[in-house]
Amino acid sequence: MDRYKVLIVDDQSVSRQLFESFVEQSDKYELVKAVSSAEMVDIYLARYKVDLIIMDVVMAEGINGLAASEYVKKRYPNVKILMVTSMPEVSYIERAREIGIESFWYKEDESGPFLAIMDRTMAGDSVYPDSTPKVALGSIMSSELSTAELTVLRELTTGAGNAEIAETLNISVNTVRTHIQHMLEKTGYSNRTELAIEARVRGIVIPD
């Protein structure tokens, strides 16, 4: 039986090494390439036959893994994608499902072996975590923020003012102000900058 051809796309060498070791441990898989940029994926796909891409979401440069996956799914619908990330950004799972990405895995998830998820993905299963990892944000856990608050927080991390956020999200400035006030009260942070930085560094929200 032919082994599944795997392409690893992750901008961190440590993570690439980790995934390479997973692939090398199994007889079912064969590593095609481990590359550091999602932007170049189309070139590798043009050159090599690939069955599975292990794709990181957040890249230091160029397009992110979600955008690259969207391109891959349009051009190469038969190539399966296993999305991996260490960021608990809640929107990633939702967007991955919309794009049609087969499976999703958090790097910190130690509940099951990664190879088993690769196997299930190649067997036609769609493996997604039940929820995003819970991360502390001030005096609360990230899961205690509402979807609307997270949406405002995501815009806040871009450095946008209340009026800009209101315009982007098509809501009133007062609503934006109220959400930010509620988040400050919940988390205990003293100002919006602290809130935005902590949320971004912890990966709770990541602007595109």
């Binding site: 901008d11 961190q12 060498s13 440590v14 993570s15 090494q17 980790l18 070791s21 390439k33 590359v35 550091s36 940029s37 932007e39 170049m40 189309d42 070139i43 590798y44 043009a46 050159r47 090599y48 957040v58 230091a60 440069e61 051009r75 260490s86 960021m87 790097k107 910190e108 806040l156 991390t157 871009t158 450095g159 946008a160 003012g161 209340n162 100002n191 919006r192 900058t193 935005a196 930085i197 971004r200 560094v201 990966g203 990541i206 602007p207």
Partner: protein, 425 residues
């Protein structure tokens, strides 16, 4: 009946006193009426009554004191005299009663009506300044507030509405008043009895200005914070990525700890060739231990990421996928040109591999008042002109966004030409 002979000095005194009381009573009522602000006609009417009363009283007193004067006509019959006195008293009382009735009615009227005096008084007490004036500038109604503003800005009360408005405009958007108060003003045109009038209103906006200043300070603070956040945002990605790397290294460190423990147990075991059991990792052999050590060392020894520019990255990928890039001309250094060239090579390389089966890409660069890029490949020639879609269409968008032009040639092999800052002739 009163006899003239028995009148004596008491009667004139009593009558005179009574008349004075009535006079003062009427005068008091008149004063009350004016104070309540009823119309002028009634005041004149009551005033006339008092004058008539006064004349009656004067005549009465005169007649009493000159009773025996031959030059004055004196009725010879007591009855006539008595009739005269009774009539006199009746008339005066009648007037008094009418005055009381009118005053009472006046008080009732005032309860339901506002006099001009009241209007002016209320107008003056308004917390805002108001000035009505005709087109000629003639003030019709100016309240105390407007006069105070006029005094503040020009040292006199409002004399000309147009001049007052001009002074307000010259003073600026807000008028600063003593005590740190600020007024704003507005003028509008109204129609009063078919005459065009203007009304200037002056409102106290001190609180609004204070709030506006506070809001401005808050906005400035927010703006500074947002700018700070934008600056930080550029480095946050790196912080997050470093944090992610650190987490991974911590995990590797943990597994390294496990390997060390396994090795220690293995070495302690009397029979090193046999497998040993540990609490956490199960059975291991010397070969497994060796593999785990190699793996851990590989992780720890992994090089840090090198940041290439776009062109270096694309050349590296080309080498990786077995495409040789034959370059003619000097590579650009200007950022936009580098970016355009990298994107063009990227797209052409993908298509050359995918559609032409090429293994060489020819990139020709020339600079004459700009940059001209020509890219072709050694793959099979296209059967004809292909539709421009997907990657090529995206590339055209990027090229045209930069003000450059893109041309595709199909005959004699595919060729892409981009002209940035030069004509593509």
């Amino acid at each position: 009946m009163i006899s003239m002979n028995s009148v004596g000095p008491a009667l004139p005194t009593i009558l005179g006193g009574l008349m004075l009381v009535l006079l003062w009573g009427n005068a008091f009522l008149l004063y009350s009426m004016i104070t309540y602000g009823r119309g002028h006609v009634r005041c004149i009417l009551i005033g006339a009554m008092i004058v008539i009363e006064y004349l009656f009283i004067q005549v009465m007193i005169y007649r009493i004191y000159h009773w025996n004067s031959p030059s004055i006509y004196i009725p010879r019959y007591e009855a006539v005299l008595n009739m005269y006195i009774i009539s006199f008293v009746a008339v005066v009382f009648g007037f008094f009663v009418i005055t009381v009735a009118l005053t009472g009615e006046n008080i009732l009227w005032n309860r339901n009506h506002i006099s001009r005096l009241s209007v002016k008084e209320s107008f003056d007490k308004l917390p805002i300044g108001v000035c009505y004036y005709l087109e000629s500038g003639l003030p019709i109604l100016v309240n105390h507030g407007a006069d105070m503003v006029s005094l503040q800005i020009c040292g006199r009360i409002v004399r000309d509405g147009m001049e007052f408005y001009q002074l307000l405009k010259d003073a600026g958007e807000f008028i600063e008043m003593p005590g740190g108060r600020y007024l704003s003003y507005a003028r509008r045109e109204i129609l009063v009895e078919n005459n065009n009038c203007y009304v200037i209103t002056l409102n106290d906006v001190t609180e609004e200005i204070e709030r506006s200043n506070e809001l401005e300070e808050e906005n400035k603070r927010l703006s500074d914070l947002n700018a700070h956040l934008r600056n930080l945002n550029a480095t946050i990605d790196q912080v997050a990525i470093q944090s992610e790397i650190l987490d991974t290294k911590v995990r590797i460190h943990d597994s390294l700890g496990q390997i060390l423990m396994m090795t220690k147990l293995y070495m302690k075991h009397e029979n090193g060739e046999e497998t040993v059991e540990t609490d956490s990792v199960g059975y291991v052999s010397a070969d497994v231990l060796k593999e785990k050590w190699k793996e851990a060392i590989r992780f720890l020894d992994s090089p840090e990421e090198m940041k290439d520019n776009q062109l270096e990255k694309i050349f590296s990928v080309a080498e990786d996928v077995g495409i040789k890039i034959e370059l003619t001309g000097k590579l650009p250094t200007e950022e936009t040109q580098v970016d355009l060239l990298a994107k063009a090579i990227h797209e052409c390389m993908t298509n050359a591999i995918r559609h032409a089966g090429a293994d060489k890409l020819f990139v020709k660069l020339s600079y004459e008042n700009g940059m001209r890029i020509e890219i072709s490949n050694n793959g099979k020639q296209p059967s004809g002109q292909l539709s421009e879609s997907g990657g090529l269409a995206n590339l055209r968008s990027v090229v045209e966004e930069q003000g450059a032009t893109m041309q595709l040639q199909w005959e004699g092999g595919f060729k892409l030409i981009i002209c940035y800052g030069v004509s593509n002739g």
